[in-house]
């Protein structure tokens, strides 16, 4: 065996920032070096994943031995450098205040009607670094207001501070170059070429990048003030990339979806389909009561009726599961099936897709957020799409008697046809845990139990690159709904199958995740906690784990118990 090549240790330079000694790799700029020292250098145009433009002049610092102030974003740390930021140098603080005053000269100050108010860098920095009334008495320059740049993004030219982040994003990341800066001086304005529009698969990301209110989402303009919303850090369930997002919710409605920085997953980008399609994970009309449907006669029911109908059929039941159930739920389902019988079968609704060139930057070629989770727990094999289509074929041919449907998207809407619905109706027992009353499943299943979608649950998702991430529930819970894992626990109880020694049914989402992390024979030795996973996710591959490993471990007869 040959020795693996040991990577050369990066060269390190030592410098002081505000008197604090720090060591950073060679080539680190002073904004990042200051972060290491615990100092936030204010900046607008700098973004860690874009080229350095150096045009906002906000990040000035003073370097000992240099006669003038220098911009931190375009200055690399060097050995022995002594840097003073606004925290220790009055000159720097004064200079930053002056820069802000210049930036605000032509800014319309329309915070009262601006969607960015409350999460605006101009507001924040003005409060922190200037906070003086304006001395500008002249007329402000007027520019375009409310100009649609494309189907998703609206421009307010007057609010723009010309940081050019959006232009650099389109030039460097998507390489579509739709945006440019026209005219010059105080007349400069961001624009698309006449006759063209900003319409690429990641176009909404420029709104995230905009530090002010110049670019806004056409979908969410004038919707709500950001401080009236509840903001949750979660994971986008659109595909198996698992982009980190921050979702603002008010009264059960999603009012804004922002990308959250995670350099290992999505940097700070998000695709339009994921962002603007976030609401597709919310039911159009909510099912709040269990119903039974016997030969067309629909009557009120309850969850135990459905469980009683199913508990005797566990040996032959076929389970169709949503591709965005939690890892914990796949694990429970797998345990239940292992203990009940080996005849029963589970598939997830995996649908592949082809991607455009821009989509390939970020999007995974599937609509299955957690198919890796299902593979990790051994529920499905290497080709989930084939297994899924096989089962759909059997249902269409009316060969399956007992069906359990977990989640609204357990059958992809593109696969929902007459023959399939007839097949579902023909089944002896079919139980559907779904939340959307308008779904064809609601009319086809013999028992419908109100379940919870992925936005109503907290738990683990495993992305395509095997990074374990924690999704938090985004919208308020609705009374009378049952998460899929609790239904599975109740089913196990009713069928006298012991999965855990404690009472799973009484647990909360967090308890379940803790229990799972301590119980899964593959993950338990890692000593993971929700907090460590929340902080950027945990790459399982780096820990020497791969999908399919638990399959053998579990069937070797581990006896899990509540931690």
């Amino acid at each position: 065996m040959s020795d693996p090549v040991t990577p050369k240790a990066p060269e390190v330079v030592n410098l002081t920032i505000d008197g604090k000694a720090v060591s950073v790799p060679k080539g680190t700029n002073l904004i990042e070096a200051a972060k290491v020292a615990g100092v936030e250098v204010p900046h607008y145009c700098y973004h860690p994943h874009l080229s350095v433009a150096g045009n906002c002049r906000m990040c000035q610092v003073s370097v000992k031995g240099q006669p003038k102030m220098t911009i931190a974003c375009n200055t690399n740390a060097a050995e022995g450098m002594e840097v003073a930021t606004h925290e220790t140098s009055k000159d720097v603080a004064d200079s930053q205040a002056a820069v802000l005053e210049f930036i605000l000269i032509n800014h319309p100050l329309d915070c009262t009607v601006c969607d960015q108010a409350g999460h605006c860098k101009l507001q924040d920095y003005h409060f922190e670094y200037n906070a003086r009334p304006s001395r500008f008495l002249e007329d402000k320059v007027h520019k375009v207001k409310a100009l649609p740049l494309g189907p998703n993004v609206m421009l307010d030219g007057e609010r723009c501070i010309m940081c050019t982040r959006c232009i650099r994003f389109c030039d460097e990341v998507t390489k579509t170059s739709e945006l440019g800066m026209l005219n010059r001086g105080d007349q400069s304005v961001i624009a698309v070429s006449p006759g063209r529009e900003l319409n690429n698969a990641l176009s909404g990301s420029v709104v995230d990048l905009c530090p002010v209110g110049a670019l806004t989402h056409r979908k969410w303009r004038f919707n709500t003030r950001i401080w009236f919303t509840k903001q949750t850090e979660s994971i986008c369930p659109g595909c198996s990339t698992g982009c980190n997002v921050k979702v603002a919710e008010r009264d059960g409605q999603v009012t804004l979806v922002k990308a959250r920085r995670n350099d290992a997953v999505n940097k700070e980008w998000l695709c339009d389909e994921g962002r603007y399609g976030f609401e597709r994970f919310l039911p159009k009309s909510r099912i709040t009561h269990a119903v039974s449907n016997k030969g067309g006669a629909i009557s009120n029911s309850n969850i135990s009726e459905a469980i009683n109908a199913l508990k005797g059929q566990l040996k032959t039941v076929t389970v169709l599961a949503s591709p965005e159930l939690l890892v914990e739920e796949y694990y429970l389902l797998r345990q239940l099936m292992l203990r009940a019988s080996s005849v029963s079968r589970a598939v997830i609704a995996y649908r592949g897709r082809t991607l455009s060139q821009v989509e390939e930057i970020l999007v995974s070629p599937d609509y299955a957020a957690n198919f890796r989770g299902a593979q990790l727990t051994g529920l499905v094999g290497e080709s989930p799409e084939q297994e899924y289509q096989e089962v759909l074929g059997k249902i269409r041919r009316k060969e399956i008697e007992n069906i359990l449907i977990l989640g609204d998207r357990a059958i992809d809407s593109r696969d929902m046809d007459e023959a399939l619905i007839e097949g579902l109706k023909a089944a002896k027992v079919s139980v559907a845990l779904i939340s959307d009353a308008s779904s064809p499943l609601a009319a086809a299943a013999s028992y419908v139990v109100p379940g919870r979608g992925i936005l109503e649950k907290s738990g683990l998702l495993l992305n395509r690159a095997l990074r374990l991430q924690y999704a938090q529930h985004v919208v308020p819970l609705v009374d009378g709904t049952t998460p899929e894992w609790r239904f599975l626990a109740m089913l196990a109880d009713a069928a006298n199958i012991k999965i855990v020694s404690g009472d799973l049914k009484a647990m909360s989402d967090r308890d379940l995740t803790r229990w799972y992390l301590a119980t899964d024979p593959v993950l338990a030795p890692q000593g993971l906690t929700i907090q460590t996973i929340k902080n950027g996710g945990v790459p399982l591959e780096a820990k020497g784990l791969s999908v399919g490993q638990s399959k053998t471990d579990v069937s070797q007869g581990a006896s899990p118990s509540v931690a």
């Binding site: 375009v144 170059s177 026209l182 005219n183 006449p194 006759g195």
Partner: protein, 204 residues
């Protein structure tokens, strides 16, 4: 600055992208072919190509920009960036005789406002407007690099310096009568005959 006619505004109306490519004269196409390889980065050829397009099409229209972008394989918006940055590219049609009055500090101190006001009154025009007969138009621009002979203006491609009201009277009168060629042709690489008695500028 808003009244100077220099600012390019994007219409909020839906504009169809240019599908039919504009074809310039053989001489212009040939000149473009000569110019492009002179630059290590094709992007650097935007300015000379814009001049060629302006020569041929009289102003920088959407078609002109698309022609340049197509020649250099660039996104059109990057050509727009250059075209709108400089005042010597006309973003809308101008008169047969187009006055560009320098209004930067040295000229301003030496009476640039007088020149502007003279043209305003003489032709009853605001900056950026074209006279009804299509003969005259004017705009105010930044420094043209002739501060030693302020105040000055450029008519088409020729400088007229040390201006006074009397001198402007003579110039306007003679231009109306003689209809001189004041254009520099990028394609033929030569300046028109000019106006006798006034120095012929060597602008390239």
């Amino acid at each position: 600055m808003t009244d100077s006619g220099q600012v390019f505004h994007i219409s909020t109306k839906k504009i169809a992208p240019v599908t039919k490519k504009v074809v310039l004269s053989d001489a212009a196409e040939k000149r473009a072919k000569e110019i492009i390889p002179l630059y290590p980065q094709s992007r650097s050829a935007i300015m000379p190509l814009l001049y060629i397009a302006q020569d041929e099409l009289s102003y920088i229209s959407q078609e002109a920009v698309e022609w340049v972008a197509d020649k250099l394989s660039l996104p059109p918006v990057q050509v727009w960036e250059v075209a709108t940055f400089y005042t010597m590219y006309y973003k809308k049609p101008v008169g047969k005789y187009h006055f560009q009055v320098c209004r930067t500090l040295p000229c301003a101190l030496r009476g640039a406002k007088m020149v502007s006001d003279y043209l305003r009154e003489k032709f009853n025009l605001n900056p950026g407007e074209v006279s009804a007969d299509g003969m005259w138009s004017f705009e105010e621009v930044e420094c043209l690099g002739s501060c030693g002979t302020a105040p000055m203006c450029q008519i088409n491609d020729v400088f007229f310096e040390n201006l006074s009201a009397e001198k402007l009277d003579t110039i306007v009168e003679r231009i109306s009568k003689e209809k001189p060629d004041l254009r520099f042709s990028t394609v033929r690489d030569e300046l028109g005959a000019g106006l006798a008695g006034f120095p012929k500028s060597e602008i390239k």
